[in-house]
């Protein structure tokens, strides 16, 4: 039932929503602000940083000189897209069969897949590290594609499964009655209905893979490091360079923020699918 909203209450709610939004967004905003200050200004008290310190792009220049952004960026793109595409190749048929031809064990298998996400990643770091050394996968993009695909696979399967479950079996039967063969059924009925779900899953997984830091930091060195490694390289034991770290972080998160901004409707739909009709 709709509750009555008075204008005052509405104004209060709007203010509250903005406040919460700002608190969540503040760290990112602050990173962007600091990235446009000199190293000396970046450690001054916040109000001085905002109002007294001069704006400069000096840090970006230094970061560009000191490290190869393009290489890290392309590593990130390859790893995020590669692990996502590989994951979808495995997960689409899996989720498909679980949604449309479930067996008695389907629920158990889904639970088991999800339960692997409950294990702390560091628990399997050592064996995976050793396997990677043996296989020569350490510090390679192939290795990261594989490991990130495996890490995110349960989530992809779950998301796709919930999507496919939403496609009523009767619609497929109707298509069969209407004279559609398997090829037409997939082409004209199933795929158009499944595409939004696959797209949302793809987007979410690209974001998860892009932001993944534990495995990308532990399994790479100079060659395959994505943007997470690029950021980490600016936090050194000798002392933090706030402005440069901020500049590096801004450059690392900008692509994914932009992607997220443009696809937010698709993403929200993907995450709440099945919850609301």
């Amino acid at each position: 039932m709709a509750r009555a909203t008075t204008p005052r209450r509405k104004a209060f709610n709007t203010a509250l929503a903005w406040a919460v939004g700002l608190v969540i967004f503040f760290p990112i905003l602050w990173i962007v602000v600091l990235s446009f200050k000199t190293e000396g200004d970046a450690i001054r008290p916040p109000l001085e940083v905002l109002f007294d310190a001069a704006w400069t792009v000096e840090s970006y220049g230094v970061v560009q000189e000191r490290s190869n952004y393009v290489k890290h960026f392309s590593n990130s793109v390859i790893i995020a897209l590669g692990s996502t595409v590989l994951g979808l190749l495995v997960a689409v048929p899996a989720a498909w069969s679980m949604a449309f031809v479930p067996s008695r064990r389907t629920k158990d298998i889904l639970m088991w897949m999800l339960s692997t996400k409950m294990l702390p990643a560091v628990g399997v770091l050592y064996p995976i590290y050793l396997i990677f050394i043996k296989l020569g996968l350490l510090d390679t993009r192939t290795g990261l594609v594989i490991v990130l695909m495996l890490i995110n696979l349960p989530i992809i399967v779950w998301m796709l499964y919930t999507y496919f479950r939403e496609i009523p079996g009767e619609i497929l039967e109707a298509a069969r009655m209407d004279g559609a063969g398997l090829r037409e059924e997939i082409l004209y009925v199933l795929t158009p209905m499944a595409v939004p779900g696959i797209a949302s899953t793809l987007l979410l997984n690209v974001i998860l893979a892009w932001n993944e830091a534990f495995w990308t930091l532990n399994l790479t060195a100079a060659n395959a490091g994505p943007l997470t490694a690029f950021i980490a390289s600016y936090s050194s034991p000798e002392g933090l360079f706030y402005a440069k770290l901020s500049a590096a972080s801004t450059m690392a998160i900008a692509p994914i923020l932009i992607l997220g901004w443009f696809s937010q409707r698709q993403l929200v739909r993907g995450l709440t699918f099945g919850a609301v009709k």
Partner: protein, 334 residues
């Protein structure tokens, strides 16, 4: 054409026999209703005819052709589903055109047939909408439109009205009956609602636990139910069943008498009891009568307005020419 013959058709799911071997003939142009309580196998039987389920053994023939192994698309049947099963990403026009596209008809022919179906079903104004923008009744019409454009050998309806509200249901019931009168195509219609069965069918097939209890016209089933199950299922309100001494008087284990065949009389009727609930509908009055010594409740349908109220004593007289007699196994006695 659309004569459908089931020959010892049987369906098992694993260990469970859902449909024991069953024979049935549906004549060309007939409106045949499968009716029974939920879980009686009526939908499964329809899906076997459609080809959406495989028969475990037996044969299905359409117009003399054995279609037991023929995939659903090739049987020449059209189906209307309970959930309508419209393609949500297509407009009404493309939904109706879909089976024609699958059949490979040329564009002009498709246009012509879609326009005709839309006109018949009052959908012309909605052709460019998507199913999500339509009401329940409109969606149902689109589903029917998608079925009729193909000019199938027979229509299969799987509880098509159960998602509609009561008023709309009566309207659609009429529309489907009229459609049948116009097209004269075989229709098989599954429902759990015996009123739908009685009002629409040429032939009713009463199913219980996968078995056919009786096949006949609505009035045959009403007048001469073969057993207690059919007697209790067909007719509303339900037939009254009386056992014991009163039944023994008529040389039966159980006697049945419909509520409309019991008269409310003044003093001196053979039966008397106390009115529990009186339902005044205007056209009829239903009395649920207790303490008759015959059965826990005897339901009586009196025409018009009859002024008895809860707690009143009422005298009743059964019209014996409408009495149904059953033996100890529940089978009708001649």
């Amino acid at each position: 054409m659309g004569r459908i013959v089931l020959d010892k058709v049987n369906k098992t799911f694993g260990e469970v026999e859902v449909i024991p071997p069953l024979d049935l003939e549906i004549e060309d142009g007939e409106f045949c209703v499968f009716v029974g309580p939920s879980g009686c196998g009526k939908s499964t039987l329809l899906r076997l005819i459609a080809g959406l389920e495989d028969v475990s053994s037996g044969r299905i023939e359409i117009d003399g052709e054995d279609v037991t192994e023929v995939p659903p698309a090739k049987r020449g049947l059209a189906m209307v589903f309970q959930s309508y099963a419209l393609y949500p990403h297509m407009t009404v026009r493309r939904n109706i055109a879909f089976p024609l596209r699958m059949a490979g008809l040329d564009r002009e022919e498709i246009e012509r047939r879609v326009a005709h179906a839309a006109e018949v079903l009052n959908l012309t104004a909605y052709l460019d909408r998507r199913p999500g923008q339509l009401s329940g009744g409109q969606r149902q019409r689109v589903a029917i439109g998608r079925a009729i454009v193909r000019e199938p050998r027979a229509f299969l309806f799987d509880e098509p009205l159960s998602n509609l509200d009561a008023a709309l249901r009566v309207g659609m019931r009429l529309e489907i009956s009229e459609l049948h009168n116009r097209l004269k195509t075989t229709m098989i219609y599954v429902t759990h609602d015996q009123v739908e069965a009685m009002t629409m069918a040429d032939k009713i097939v009463v199913l219980n636990a996968g078995r056919i209890e009786q096949v006949g016209s609505p009035l045959e089933l009403y007048r001469a139910p073969r057993n207690l199950f059919v007697a209790g299922f067909i007719g509303s309100p339900k037939m009254n069943f009386i056992e014991g001494a009163e039944a023994a008087k008529h040389n039966a284990h159980t006697i049945g008498i419909r509520p409309e065949h019991i008269e409310v009389v003044g003093e001196g009727g053979p039966w008397r009891g106390r009115v529990g609930v009186a339902e005044h509908l205007g056209s009829d009055t239903f009395f649920h009568v207790h303490d008759t010594g015959l059965a826990e409740t005897i339901t009586v349908r009196a025409p018009g307005e009859v002024a008895f109220r809860a707690g009143d004593t009422i005298h009743l007289s059964p019209r014996l020419e409408h009495l149904h007699r059953f033996d100890a196994n529940g089978v009708r006695l001649a």
